[in-house]
């Protein structure tokens, strides 16, 4: 048996942000197996202080380009709770479409562009343009379609523009919505089905590994928990959003500019697999079929299967968006202005599922409508301890393999979490002293 | 609109022409000989300019630096200053470029007949004046003295070295030059161009002064000329402004109410003096 192993992956590729994988084994004793987060700290919560409520979501959206929509919406919801701004049903439906679109986009990007190259043994999606052109083209079409959703509803898929506190500054027309629906049906569903075939054909390339952990996600008994709901833990059931600090319990570790989190165990998992495990019964019929086809059955304890859960969610998002558009068309688009007249000032906490898992924003506003205190807890941060725990269990299991294979499996493991490292370093709680 | 004769349909459309010769003059300037399609003759006056056009790189106004007596081709001297001019510098003999023009008023050469002509050229200002210099040399008997004053920042920026050698060797031409900053090999005058003016002896009532150079030069050259009691009526300037269309539409080149591309670039000093923004 191998006694020594030393792995140091500097600036892991095909993830968002900067992270290193460090494994150190001496005489058969595993000293270290960690994901080091080396992203530069950005002090967002500090920068938010004194910002006007119009600017808060614009700022927090810049925490992360990939999850910009999730940050934006969570931020808006927290602001609305804090300032007592009611939103209309139309606004809520439009926002749900946005969440679907963003999840659809991000999951496609991750599953097909960042993770698939691993299954095909290439370093990026680019060589696949020559070898698997059809797949790449379908993937590009899907990604474009997903971005079209964001572009139409919020003006821009990355760092959305028109969704603001209290509503939207610009509304899509009914014609634009029904054109989008057409496209989702005629292009989106067939392409998604094709993508599912591709992933199904690669199923045997997904490493088999299991480690049961605590799964935490947003839960809502009417629909698959994305836009809103309460917190659900696979260990202890439902918990109100306002109590989020009891779950996240953040702590500093020296190998990460991002804080770690734990609840009932030494770590917990958030993200597509956590959502699937907690809410699979609420998936749309199309997604249920896809899950069955890809052999994803709840509860599933293989973190590598997170990628598969993402594909299942893509199907869900497409079908769900079609339904939401129908709902809007039935009601007719009403020319509503954003409701931006605060009725109170105080604290607001909100949660939304972003592609990488559950996200919390917690703001306190003063009487002038300026931020006094802010806290954002980001999914990748919550997953870090779980990734370290996975590595601790995985390394001894595969220690007989070549160093190259071990490294690759570790990289794939981290990538499966689709970590969004640059946002994870913003989960910094700051108390301001006046 | 009823009854409007639509003339010049081709206001913005270039003639696809050919670069037939490229000559490197300095690090920054090259001279290009251009042939219009079908041996057409441009038919310009000294002091006029063309709009050079390279697809994908834009258009730029460039003075014609050869005399109209040189036919059918004409020359442009181009300083590498940006998008189009940089691209032009990478072009070889045989390359195609678009030409619109000639534009602008140019010098009224018949009015200058019988007069002494003083050329005051600063830096690349020699290029536009070169067409007039060459013209007066070609029609030497029609003009009196030809006095050329030329100043550059340093010796490496001297243009048209061949011609200068010829001018220096010719008895019919008085040529003086200076550089602001000499290098170790420089043997000639040093100092700004205005230092060349006081020593020369001029029959001011019968001398036409033509001045072209960088924007700051004009004020000082005119002051020196006035110092020699040169009457305003005898001074001509050619001015540069930002320019897009070359045909009096885009507005960029306006000096007060005057379009440089139409009423210039050559200005009679008494007129330029009236224009507050001119100098």
């Amino acid at each position: 048996m191998k006694k020594d192993l030393n792995i140091n992956v500097h600036h892991l590729t095909r993830v968002e942000g900067h992270g290193n994988i460090v494994v150190d084994m001496k005489n058969g004793v595993l000293n270290k197996s960690e994901l080091h987060i080396v992203e530069a700290p950005r002090y967002f919560e500090a920068m938010l202080k004194g910002r006007n409520f119009h600017e808060v979501a614009i700022t927090t959206s810049r925490i992360c380009g990939i999850c910009s929509l999730g940050h934006q919406l969570t931020s808006l919801k927290a602001t609305e709770v804090a300032l007592g701004l009611e939103i209309s049903e139309q606004t809520e439906i439009l926002r749900k479409i946005l969440v679907d679109g963003a999840t659809f986009q991000s999951n496609i990007l991750h599953a097909l562009f960042l993770a698939t190259p691993d299954f095909l043994n290439v370093g990026s999606v680019f060589p696949l343009i020559n070898t698997h052109k059809e797949v790449v083209l379908a993937a590009l079409r899907l990604k474009r379609l997903a971005n079209d959703i964001g572009d139409l509803i919020s003006g821009r898929a990355i760092h959305p523009i028109s969704c603001v506190p209290g509503g939207f500054t610009k509304l899509p027309t009914e014609k634009e919505l029904s054109d989008l629906k057409e496209k989702l049906i005629k292009e989106g569903i067939p392409d998604a089905e094709f993508a599912v075939e591709v992933v199904a054909s690669l199923a045997d390339k997904i490493p088999t590994f299991e480690r049961e952990t605590e799964y935490i996600s947003v839960y809502n008994d009417k629909e698959y928990g994305f836009y809103d709901g309460v917190i659900c833990s696979s260990d202890s059931g439902l918990i109100p959003v306002d109590n989020y600090l009891e779950i996240t319990n953040e702590f500093i570790v020296s190998h990460s500019t991002s804080k770690h989190a734990k609840f009932n165990r030494s770590s917990y998992m958030v993200g597509a697999l956590a959502r699937f495990n907690n809410s699979h019964k609420l998936l749309n019929p199309l997604a249920q079929k896809v899950a069955e086809k890809l052999g994803l059955v709840a509860p599933n304890y293989n973190p590598y299967m997170n990628t598969v859960a993402q594909v299942v969610e893509v199907a869900h998002c497409i079908e769900n968006t079609i339904g939401l558009i129908d709902m809007l068309l039935d009601r007719g688009i009403k020319n509503e202005k954003p409701n931006q007249e605060p009725t109170k000032y105080g604290r607001g906490i909100a949660t939304t599922e972003v592609p990488r898992g559950i996200l919390f924003h917690d703001y306190t506003y003063n009487r002038k409508g300026l931020i006094e205190k802010a806290n954002c807890v980001i999914p990748t941060g919550q997953n870090l301890a779980n990734i370290d725990d996975d590595m601790k269990k995985l390394v001894p299991e595969i220690i007989e393999e070549s160093k190259e294979d071990i490294t690759k499996k570790l990289e794939m493991l981290v990538r499966a979490y689709d970590p969004c490292i640059s946002c994870s370093v913003h989960m910094l709680e700051v108390d301001f002293i006046e | 609109m009823e009854n409007t004769a639509i003339e010049k349909q081709d206001l913005y459309y270039p003639m696809m022409s050919e670069i037939v010769k490229v000559e490197t003059l300095t690090n920054l300037e090259k001279r290009f000989e251009i042939a219009l399609p079908d041996n057409q003759i441009l038919g310009h006056l000294p002091g006029q300019f063309v709009e050079v056009s390279i697809f994908g790189y834009g258009e730029a106004p460039i003075s014609i630096c050869s005399s109209p007596t040189k036919m059918p081709n004409f020359d442009l001297t181009v300083r590498n200053a940006g998008k189009l001019t940089d691209k032009m510098h990478s072009m070889k003999e045989g390359s195609k470029i678009g030409i619109r023009g000639p534009y602008g008023n140019g010098f009224d050469v018949t009015k200058f007949e019988g007069k002494d002509i003083l050329f005051v050229c600063g830096g690349i200002g020699l290029a536009p004046l070169k067409s007039l210099i060459d013209y007066t040399i070609a029609k030497r008997q029609k003009y009196g003295r030809i006095i050329i004053l030329y100043g550059t920042k340093n010796p490496s920026e001297i243009l048209f070295k061949e011609d200068i050698k010829m001018w220096q060797g010719s008895k019919e031409i008085e040529f003086h030059m200076t550089v602001d900053k000499p290098d170790e090999y420089w043997k000639g005058n040093t100092g700004v161009i205005t230092t060349l003016i006081p020593p020369i002896d001029l029959d001011i009532s019968n001398t036409i002064a033509t001045v072209v150079g960088p924007p700051i030069m004009y004020k000082f050259v005119i002051m020196s000329l006035k110092g020699k009691r040169m009457p305003d009526e005898n001074i001509y300037l050619s001015l540069e402004r930002r320019m897009k269309c070359g045909v009096g539409k885009c507005g960029h080149c306006q000096i007060n109410d005057t379009y440089v591309c139409q009423d210039g670039p050559v200005f009679h000093y008494p007129h330029a003096k009236q224009l507050e923004e001119a100098i």
Partner: protein, 356 residues
């Protein structure tokens, strides 16, 4: 320049259109040509748009955001498309649809007249002139708001020059005046079989302009002879942020910039022109960094001189038509009328001093 509006309209043949007739008339116009008319844009703004349904037309509007010039000098226009591999280029086709511009205010029409002058002077411009072909204009009166000052620059509300028909709102409809032969033809084509009561009397009701220039417009060029070095310019420059809005939205401004852009297939592309403005920083900058109008004061001075002196000296007409756009849309709330009145004040003080 200034027509006596009463006699102008009083001599003309007229018809009464109630609202249903007006709607039918619009439908009729739409069978004749592309109809362009003011429509609502955003919450409280208007713009000239192609009419797809007569219901969208707004008859009582203060002014549109962009002036009508956008149809003759588009904000962004392809001058030519090229293929640099083969050294070829194609001129752009300018569609020559018949167009009817409906419910146009007098100052807007006068703005087009000023542009006609600018684009036929010197080198007449084909693109503009071709777009101007086959255009019919139908006027409508307006209620001056606090930004209009057309009367101060010699343009009455009922100025019908270059209109073919003119609409004056009356109870439950419009009086429609037949201004020229084209208008007459339109009415006769449309009116076939309809009874369009034509006998109604009409008297222009004088409408009050809240904004006025202190001097008669005839004297403005003279004022501008003397204010080149005025202090007013630097006062304005304290407030102005140089955004260019006043240039871009002015119906008589026409400066432009030209840029080449290639496609991803790098040898193909087009040469485009865009509206530009003398208030913008880089407008008069040349290679080597010299900026001939670096100061905001010199830029505002240039802008105003172009409206009241430079072109006026040649055309004999003021090139401000009093639409008020540059003031209404200026983010810094700089009022052109205030500038002119300040200049006038300074000028008249100066005159007084001369007399003493």
């Amino acid at each position: 320049m200034y027509y006596d509006s009463n006699t102008g309209l009083n001599k003309m043949k007229r018809y009464y259109f109630d609202q249903p007739t007006t709607d039918k008339f619009v439908e009729f116009l739409m069978t004749q040509a592309e109809v362009i008319a003011p429509q609502k844009k955003g919450d409280a703004s208007y713009s000239y748009e192609v009419v797809t349904s007569g219901k969208d037309i707004v008859y009582d509007y203060p002014r549109t955001i962009q002036p009508l010039k956008k149809y003759f000098l588009p904000p962004r226009e392809t001058l030519l498309s090229f293929d640099s591999k083969n050294n070829e280029f194609k001129k752009t086709d300018i569609a020559l649809n018949n167009r009817i511009f409906f419910a146009i205010h007098s100052y807007e029409m006068q703005g087009i007249k000023r542009l006609d002058y600018s684009f036929t002077q010197g080198n007449p411009e084909f693109n503009y002139l071709q777009r101007r072909e086959n255009s019919i204009f139908i006027g409508i009166s307006f209620n001056p708001d606090k930004w209009h000052f057309t009367k101060s620059v010699g343009i009455s509300i009922e100025e019908v020059e270059r209109f073919s028909l003119y609409f004056e709102p009356v109870d439950n409809g419009f009086l429609v005046f037949e201004v020229d032969d084209t208008g007459k033809e339109l009415i006769s084509k449309f009116g076939n079989g309809l009874s369009l009561d034509a006998s109604m009397d009409f008297e222009v009701r004088e409408k009050e302009f809240k904004t006025k220039i202190k001097y008669h417009y005839n004297r403005l060029p003279q004022v501008f002879e003397h204010v080149y070095n005025s202090k007013v310019w630097s006062d304005i420059a304290q407030k102005c942020v140089g955004c260019g809005t006043c240039n871009l939205l002015c119906p008589t401004c026409y400066c432009f910039d030209v840029r080449d852009e290639v496609e991803l297939e790098i040898s193909k592309g087009k040469r485009e022109r865009f509206w530009d403005g003398c208030m913008l920083n880089e407008f008069a900058e040349v290679a080597g960094g010299e900026n001939f109008r670096e100061k905001l004061s010199s830029r505002t001075r240039h802008r105003l001189h172009r409206k009241f002196k430079y072109i006026t000296d040649h055309s004999g007409e003021l090139h401000c038509v009093g639409c008020g756009r540059c003031t209404k849309y200026c983010p810094a709330n700089i009022s052109i009328v205030e500038i002119i009145n300040n200049l006038i004040e300074e000028y008249s003080d100066h005159q007084k001093e001369q007399i003493i």
